[in-house]
């Protein structure tokens, strides 16, 4: 949805192309791209290509230490596709991802909308709190949340017991549903600040004229939100939503740490931890690469609507 016509080198004169300058610009875009492309190719190119190569080979720890790797074609992928456990993990991951993304977006949007109506002091304090949450190092975040829900010494159990419930010694991680509930709580807590800030900034840019006109026409708060604000920030929501889906599908650290703290690993694996356990836990690097490629494919499928729209827009 760009408001600017890019300088059209290939097709000749267009509205904004400047006369007499075309020739000189021909190599310029490539030159501008060069540094970024060079870094990406050097630092990511080889690893990514190797990743793809690995997925077609039998590559374990032995091969890491010098044994030749055997080409197995699609064998890794076939083994993946016929492994019922992988599909279980996939289903869980997609569901988890969609729930998290939806909750994060919903909460972030809600907070952003409400922030508009707060008194200045409260709003600044809210923004500061969200900022602190965003800036806290991941290790600290996970440790604190673990402690809060610790079975024996957690403050949550302590508080709930003090309020009269029988939660002493209650394990929050032992049942998968509860486990994922806690995981969602943590991930949403970590992701909402980003969404809230972005959407809030988007809202501040919504034209006040349109809103006042709507108010003059008698539109209530809800109507204003629904018909003026939401459409105006749809692009923002789309971008943020896309990112949430990409990130939540790949989620690894939070799940991995929680698995060490409690619950059963096989019931709580998502694609992120599954890739890791295959790769490092078992030294099956070839298989782990295949799962990573698989994860990439799933992500593309899940975000295809946005991809298609964006691709078309680029014309």
């Amino acid at each position: 949805m760009s408001t600017v016509q890019p300088l059209d080198l290939a097709a000749g004169a267009s509205g904004t192309a400047l006369p007499g300058r075309r020739r000189r610009f021909r190599g310029l875009p490539y030159g501008l791209l060069l540094p970024a492309v060079a870094v990406i190719i050097v630092a990511l190119g080889y690893p990514l290509v190797r990743q793809v190569w690995l997925s077609f080979h039998e590559f374990g720890l032995k091969q890491q230490f010098g044994q030749p790797a055997e080409w197995v074609g699609l064998a890794n992928y076939v083994e993946l596709a016929t492994d019922p456990y992988l599909w279980e993990v996939l289903g869980r991951s997609v569901l988890f991802c969609l729930v998290n993304a939806a909750v994060t977006l919903g909460l972030g949007l809600f907070i952003a909308l409400v922030m508009q109506a707060m008194s200045a002091g409260v709003r600044i304090a809210t923004q500061a709190a969200l900022l602190l949450a965003w800036a806290m190092p991941v290790l600290a975040v996970l440790t604190v949340w673990q402690w809060m829900f610790d079975t024996t010494y957690g403050v949550v159990n302590w508080a709930l017991t003090a309020l009269g419930g029988d939660f002493s010694g209650h394990s929050w991680l032992i049942e998968p549903l509860s486990f994922f509930g806690i995981a969602t709580l943590i991930i949403v807590w970590m992701s909402v600040p980003f969404v809230a800030f972005t959407v809030y900034a988007g809202l501040t840019q919504v034209s006040t004229d349109a809103i006042e006109a709507a108010m003059l026409d008698g539109a209530g708060t809800l109507a204003r939100v629904r018909h003026i604000m939401l459409p105006a920030i749809k692009p923002v929501l789309a971008v943020v939503g896309l990112l949430q889906i990409v990130w939540d599908l790949r989620v690894f650290t939070q799940i991995y740490v929680l698995q060490r703290a409690g619950g059963t690993a096989s019931d709580t694996n998502l694609l992120g931890t599954y890739v890791y356990r295959l790769g490092i836990g078992e030294g099956s690097f070839g298989m782990a690469a295949a799962v990573a490629m698989f994860l990439l494919a799933v992500t593309i499928v899940l975000t295809s609507p946005y991809l298609v729209t964006m691709f078309r827009q680029e014309d």
Binding site: F65, T151, G281
Partner: protein
């Protein structure tokens, strides 16, 4: 005058720069098989030794460095501190790199087996005799050997003993159990009695993921985690001995312990200090933690007792032997010097320092160095019958996938042990094939 100062500065600068940089990569990497020709033995070099965590006391580290540098003029020894978590990542990358490989590494038992079978370590079979031969803890040597050749040797061992609350035992009228059956009985009675009326009290603190303690009961009953029949490894938890042991384990989980059913054994001293555990099974160094000002409860000292877990036949139960191994990296360019460092680490003087710090020495004959207080007696008794995890090449995968942790949690939840065992045996066999 000016020139000399300038030259001096330049030399100093060059030395400083070279000291900061990487150790110079040598030309031909040494293949993992035999010791190198005499040429590299003479060349002085900097030997890098990787030690993990805080087990090795500072006195031992100083001794190692001093002795090595005295014996090998011109060479230096640097100890690089590593952490256990993330160690496998570092070993996987560094040991397979010609330029980055350390010379000597400390690894856990499972890692010793894994990296041995993939050829990451140098063959030290020829050096075994000089290092102690049969005196080296046999289980560890087995873990580091494949096809009759040895690639990793024991460094120190540690096994678990049972720490108990003398005062609670007294109040409940219990005595130190001498057989396994008595132990189970004592634990259950203690929980029921709960002399101090503490909330969530456990007679025996037994978290659900703790397969490392559970395996002692399985072995005691004649079972095992996995067995090798005719060259093929398979899960063995469905065998009758294992089932009997698992029944004991489940009994303890459900009747003697109030520990979280999905908890792990990482922190046993906090419940002990909070008064929630009548007995805990923990490695010897936990004693130090319990008595420390920082982490523990020094006031508990007079109530702290220790005994070795008793087996069904009255001697010590076969507990899981923990500890570390040392190995020389196959790609290290300093094969001779690396072996000299290992020699020092296995020497009587060095091992004595370790023993004084509560670590069981790598040589059987040195066990007496541990002393003869209650703690040492318990450790020695426990170690006498201790065993290692199955020496299967793929055992690390079993641990990496947390198969046994998941299994134990389900047992702790009260599931049907026969059905659960059948399921987990299939998973284990699959990983080990």
């Amino acid at each position: 005058m000016k020139i000399r100062t300038g030259l001096g500065l330049a030399v100093a600068g060059a030395l400083a720069l070279s000291a900061c940089g990487q150790p110079a990569a040598t030309t031909a990497p040494v293949p993992g098989a035999t010791t190198t020709p005499a040429a590299s033995a003479a060349a002085p070099a900097n030997i890098r030794v990787w030690l993990n965590g805080t087990d090795t006391p500072q006195e031992a580290r100083d001794f190692l460095k001093k002795t090595f540098e005295a014996q090998n003029a011109g060479s230096t020894l640097t100890i690089e501190e590593q952490q256990w978590t993330g160690l496998v990542d570092k070993l996987t990358t560094a040991l397979s790199s010609d330029s980055q490989t350390p010379d000597v590494v400390e690894v856990g038992n499972t890692q010793a087996a894994t990296f041995t079978t993939v050829g990451a370590f140098a063959d030290v079979t020829a050096d075994l005799a000089g290092w102690g031969g049969d005196d080296l803890l046999p289980g560890f040597v087995a873990a580091g050997s494949v096809d009759g050749k040895t690639f990793a040797v024991p460094y120190y061992a540690g096994s678990k003993a049972v720490f108990y609350r003398k005062d609670l035992f007294e109040k409940a009228g219990l005595t130190i159990p001498t057989t396994m059956a008595e132990f189970v009985d004592t634990a259950i009675k203690l929980k029921a009695a709960n002399p101090d009326k503490t909330k969530n009290f456990s007679g025996f603190w037994f978290p659900g993921k703790d397969w490392r303690n559970a395996v002692a009961f399985i072995w005691d009953a004649g079972g095992d985690l996995a067995t090798n029949t005719g060259g093929a490894w398979a899960g063995a938890l469905s065998a009758s001995g294992s089932q009997a042991g698992l029944a004991t384990v489940q009994k303890l989980f459900t009747e003697a312990s109030a520990a979280p059913k999905d908890g792990d054994e990482a922190d046993t001293w906090t419940p002990f200090c909070e008064g929630q555990a009548g007995m805990i099974s923990a490695p010897g160094w936990v004693r130090g933690l319990i008595l420390s000002e920082e982490n523990g409860c020094p006031d508990m000292e007079k109530n702290l007792g220790v005994f070795a877990l008793p087996g069904s036949d009255g001697s010590s139960a076969p507990v899981l032997l923990g500890g570390s191994n040392i190995a020389v990296a196959a790609k290290s360019p300093n094969q001779e010097l690396a072996r000299k460092a290992v020699t020092i680490m296995l020497s009587t003087e060095y091992q004595t320092i370790l023993a004084k710090a509560g670590l069981t020495p790598a040589k059987v004959s040195l066990a007496s160095l541990l002393g003869d207080d209650e703690s040492a007696k318990a450790t020695i008794a426990a170690a006498s019958n201790a065993r290692l995890t199955p020496a299967a090449a793929g055992w690390a995968s079993v641990e990496g996938a947390m198969i046994l942790e998941d299994f134990m949690v389900n047992v702790a939840k009260g599931g049907d042990i026969a059905a659960l065992a059948a399921e987990v045996d299939a998973k284990i066999t699959d990983k080990l094939k």
